[in-house]
């Protein structure tokens, strides 16, 4: 189970507290990129529906 300070990334549990701020910013950037991708896919679907 994920708890407040851990996330699953590439199938692995990552304890966020064990990462440096620099590493956390890398993770953040990656999540941002993934989010943009998923949002784009949703937008494409919605465009078809509208």
């Amino acid at each position: 189970m994920e708890n407040i300070d851990s996330i699953v990334l590439d199938g692995e549990f990552i304890n966020l507290n064990s990462l440096s701020i620099e590493d956390l910013n890398h993770v953040l950037k990656r999540l941002d990129d993934e989010k943009i991708e998923v949002k784009q896919e949703i937008d494409n679907l919605l465009e078809k529906l509208a």
Binding site: D5, I7, L46, K48
Partner: protein, 258 residues
């Protein structure tokens, strides 16, 4: 069949988006937490080490200043914690608005899909007028979703800015103590002269150049802090009011469109 497939794909994407949003909020929260902790440690450590180095430079024993030292650290820590606490309040408020906006956006997307499905069925039944009504609803839901994109982006930007502003303001108010060290006498002869000078005036100079300025600085900060904390509180209220206004504007546009 295609409708069910599209439903499944959309649900899958929304679930993915939700998971990413949760992960992102966790990472941002840990970045904020770590930044505040690091800054607090850094400021306290530099004050402690600066005080010790100055005492050594003026040939003063730390034991003689134990009460002052403990009181200084305690007061400095309390002031830093006040700043941290007001930024935490700002952070939590921005986060709550973000969470609500993300949730409302997903509701708008789900409603869009529902309206689109109904519209499709009405078209098949050749119920053109009713189908047009649902087409309008689909457009309204899409507009709502797009407006929430703007609100979400604004909240995310403000969450990240919260960390940046906190660092900047803390550095501006609580300067780097490690750079405020008196000239160090490097050579052996200079060191010897400093020792002699310390015998005559070390205590007086330490009091005038170190103890007194720290007292003045702590007192000044005590009088400045309520205004600063109040300013951050105002910033929080202004932000929340702006986002609430944007959300009600989004709802107004939606109502107008359907």
């Amino acid at each position: 069949m295609e409708e069910m497939e599209n439903n499944a794909i959309l649900m899958d994407k929304l679930t993915k988006l939700n998971k990413l949003e949760i992960k992102k909020s966790k990472v941002l929260a840990v970045i904020f937490q770590k930044t505040t902790e690091n800054m607090l440690d850094q400021k306290l450590q530099s004050l402690e080490s600066n005080f010790k180095e100055q005492a050594e430079f003026y040939g003063q024993k730390l034991e003689n200043y134990e009460d002052f030292y403990q009181n200084m650290i305690q007061k400095y820590k309390e002031q830093l914690l006040q700043m941290i606490s007001s930024y935490k309040e700002l952070y939590v408020n921005v986060y709550l608005e973000l969470q609500e906006a993300e949730c409302n956006q997903k509701i708008a997307i789900t409603n869009l899909k529902k309206c689109s499905d109904i519209k499709q069925k009405l078209m098949e039944q050749a119920n053109i007028n009713k189908a047009e009504e649902y087409h309008q609803k689909v457009k309204a839901c899409l507009q709502k979703k797009n407006n929430y994109d703007l609100i979400i982006n604004r909240c995310e930007k403000d969450l990240e800015n919260c960390v940046v502003h906190f660092e900047k303001q803390l550095n501006a108010l609580f300067g780097d103590k490690s750079t405020q060290i008196s000239l160090k006498e490097e050579g052996a002869i200079q060191k010897m002269f400093q020792k002699i000078r310390n015998l005559w005036s070390g205590k007086t100079k330490f009091n005038s150049y170190v103890v007194e300025p720290i007292n003045v600085e702590l007192d000044m900060m005590d009088s400045k802090l309520p205004d600063i904390v109040n300013e951050i509180g105002q910033k929080t209220l202004t932000f929340v009011a702006k986002i609430k206004q944007a959300k009600s504007e989004t709802n107004r546009i939606f109502e107008q469109m359907i």
